[in-house]
Amino acid sequence: MKRIAHVCGLLFLGVVVGLPLGIYIVQNEFINKEKAIGMVIEEGFVDDYAKKEFVHADPQNARAALTYAVGAHKAMQGRSPLSGWREKVDLAWCYADLSLVEESAGNENLAKDHMSQAQQILSGLGMKDPSEFHIRELLRRSTASTKSSEEQ
């Protein structure tokens, strides 16, 4: 009886040590990496859809998709190892696109809020001219290039 208790005690000791070790390894070596890849792809996917909707179809769908993309960006921040400079730039452009959508829907206040968010992020990232005029100009060029590349 004493021997069985001794064996169980040693096994239990091993389990107590192994449990956090297993959690740590699976979390860091597998889950975090897969989650980071999945979140980046998910955001890119819905962002691409929003651009297509904005250019060719329904701005309301574009708004919903951009809001989803902003949410995905926020979920990534601080958690995903792939969340860096590029993702922040992408978030700024999501806000800028969203601002145009809101403006076309007549929501001036929301449009201003989104544009100021975009400006804040872009100036924080070191953009030389984060003025509204410059952002609008860049958006216009990017929309035109999206259209021409899709027509080809």
Binding site: V17, K35, Y68
Partner: protein, 102 residues
């Protein structure tokens, strides 16, 4: 000496059991809470493999693309998927189907 060895083996077996249980539990929770993110990661991997196979001009490219489309179809059929994401999946599935059946 033999006793010490047996004790060490018992502790190591315990560590392995604990590690397996811990890993399984955390992975199970992740798979349950982040099903969509997992699906996107898988679809992304299949997409990258498919493009690579296509560039090598092998017949596997189509198979990988079909797996990717199957993952998207499952996302469209799932009630847990956001309606706007369903639309995005539908659009992309349509565009990719053109690659298989031009």
């Amino acid at each position: 000496m033999k006793k010490l060895l047996l004790r060490s083996i018992l502790v190591i077996v315990g560590i392995l059991i604990g590690g397996a249980v811990g890993g399984y539990v955390i992975f199970h929770r992740y798979a349950r809470d982040y099903a969509l993110v997992r699906a996107f990661a898988m679809a992304g991997i299949f997409s990258a493999v498919s493009k690579n196979e296509y560039e090598k001009n092998t017949s596997d490219a189509k198979r990988e693309l079909i797996v990717q489309l199957k993952i998207w179809t499952d996302g469209i059929d799932s009630s847990a998927t956001d309606p706007i994401m369903k639309n995005a999946l539908r659009m992309n599935r349509g565009l990719h189907l053109r690659k298989i059946h031009p």
